[in-house]
Point group: C2
Chain length 122, copies 2
């Protein structure tokens, strides 16, 4: 089914792709996947790395990503406890488009900012 360049609908209407959109249309989910792109990270590391996210949101995001099969949780039976998160094979595939997005963001952040104060602020 490669109908994604015809006037039909992909990611529009109720196709299964729409569900996957819900995965990535989440600020923290995207950054988290991106942050895990360079290897396994612990809860605290992610929190520091991402910046601005609360423990609660991070855990919630991690659970959701795990639930979607994008990341793995690995808890070590140690004292003090250590828990590491890493991308699954599926999660790795998401890394590509997300990286493209980050490149876009990097390249066009100033253009967006410029557009913003050309319009809105008044």
């Amino acid at each position: 089914m490669s109908s994604f360049d015809r006037p039909g609908d992909v990611f529009l209407a109720d196709c299964p792709a729409r569900l996957a959109v819900e995965v990535i249309a989440d600020k923290w989910a995207v950054v988290t996947v991106y942050a895990l792109g360079r290897g396994p990270r612990r809860h605290g590391e992610l929190k520091a790395l991402i910046g601005g996210i609360s423990s609660k949101m991070l855990t919630q995001t991690l659970r959701r990503l795990q639930h979607h099969g994008l990341i793995q949780r690995h808890a070590f039976a140690e004292v003090p406890p250590r828990v590491e998160y890493s991308l699954t094979a599926l999660g790795e595939t998401l890394l590509e488009p997300v990286t493209m997005l980050s490149r876009w963001a990097e390249a066009n952040a100033d253009a967006v900012l410029e557009a913003q104060d050309r319009m809105g602020i008044s």
Copy 2:
């Protein structure tokens, strides 16, 4: 500044790219940009095309995208009134990563669904 492959931070912390993330980390914004990818569309057309979105949300999303410089609004002085929306040059550049995302979604939607009922539902 192409530091996006070093352990530093892109899209992490408070870099300008983070702002651009806010643009795309919006369910309706992404689909709307995608829907406008094939050419100018009217409010009603978009509403029907996207499916599941309310008039209010659509207008709100369009305003936000316009405010970010991604789309243009063109109102014709006719009766009954006609308003068309189209991507700006900046908006067109976003189309690429968004299309990649849609391809990913298409390709991996079932994998996500599978992961979901392998875990969560119990």
